[in-house]
Symmetry: C2
């Protein structure tokens, strides 16, 4: 019995953005567990069992991974991006609640390049000053809380990164967020839509809030909003290190 569990971040898509630490963990694993498209990024090999599962079963997936580690297997739970940012790490720790026998396992979180930082790098440096990171999905929190946090962030002049800005099940939420931002930040504030960063489908587009429409975002997009000082220089967008 020398089971262990790593919760590993695969980064946004490009293999060149996977850390050597994560690659080594996958090379040492007997089992890889995760959402179907992330497990599809792992190269099959003898001795490695892949366990792809559907979306929205995060707690069941986490419990299954912990049970395997408890049986002595070497398990990697894969997330896109960083496992600690709207990904599998919190689900694994939730699954540890009231399971003291699992809490003693060898469990490690291996960080990865999260989407907002890959997107910011492609655009320039729009998160170069204080910023807030907000998940716009209302699966796990009320829409009123999302709007309150966006309002607080905008009023305090944070730059912002939005994960899961828009999905088929809530097509109108993001339009309301854009209207809220326009009201507080004005029409000229810069906003970057970064879709499928570091993949062949990558699209990066920076516009003003006046020009922004909800259709510019989909489930594969991360959205970056500048602060009052964010500006363009050449083909880049960046936020200066100094406050205005």
């Amino acid at each position: 019995m020398n089971g262990w569990l790593c919760i590993a971040g695969l980064g946004p898509g490009d293999a060149a953005l996977v850390t050597p630490e994560v690659t080594a963990a996958i090379d040492a694993a007997t089992d890889v567990v995760g959402y179907i498209p992330y497990v599809a990024r792992i190269t099959p090999r003898a001795g490695l069992t892949l366990h792809p599962s559907d979306n929205r079963v995060e707690l069941d997936r986490a419990a299954a991974a912990l049970a395997m580690a408890a049986e002595g297997r070497q398990v990697v739970v894969v997330s896109s991006g960083d496992p600690g940012v709207f990904a599998m790490a919190s689900a694994v720790f939730e699954a540890l609640e009231n399971r003291p026998e699992w809490q003693q396992l060898d469990i490690r979180v291996l960080p990865g390049i999260t989407a907002m930082l890959a997107a910011a790098a492609r655009a320039g440096a729009p998160l170069g000053h204080d910023f807030c990171t907000i998940n716009l999905s209302d699966n796990l929190k009320p829409a009123s809380l999302i709007e309150a946090r966006v309002r607080a962030a905008a009023e305090a002049d944070f730059a912002m990164a939005f994960y899961n800005p828009r999905s088929a099940s809530r097509p109108d939420t993001f339009g309301r967020i854009l209207a809220l931002l326009r009201g507080i930040c004005g029409p000229d504030r810069l906003i970057t839509f970064a879709r499928a960063v570091s993949t062949p489908d990558e699209q990066i587009r920076t516009v003003t809030l006046a020009e922004a429409t909800p259709e510019m975002a989909d489930m594969r997009t991360v959205v970056l909003v500048g602060n009052a000082a964010t500006r363009r220089v050449g083909r880049f967008v960046y936020t200066p290190r100094s406050a205005v």
Copy 2:
């Protein structure tokens, strides 16, 4: 003339956290530019010139790097962590202002593992829900703005990550921030002090706000503050995916 410039993130310290993309850029470079301790992390080799410089000369360093790229050299500007988070990317873009001849250069930002995400991974998943990232240094912004942003973040129940929480030149600022947080978040809120993450000097310590003292942070520390739902499970601290 085929000069280029990459602004690359070296991660928090451990070579296993440097992305292959960054390693490849350094392997292809003729010149590496950066703050002394970061350039010290680069292995010297024939054909590579190292240009270490002191702290607080970021704009001069950026301009020197751009001038070398304009002369046809292959230049990597190195930052610790991620170059877009309180690091060199914004300084390079600032140095591009009013220099249209430099704006046409081949310039790329290569993301890295930023300190807060490496620290969160070591502690568990304290940034597993919406969070704010704030630089507590008052070098480039007034202390009043820092306090206003911390207040806004705490009142909207964001988790928080603080960079540069404390330095010899402003020993009292962080004590005021802790008092402010205690007033809004109460004495039981969890706070993690992560020092020198992924280096031999690493220290990770999670306490309550009631127990936290300014001396727990220094210039090598990143501080993570939980939201109202952040809790311990076993030896870990995490923020659940659901709002309270």
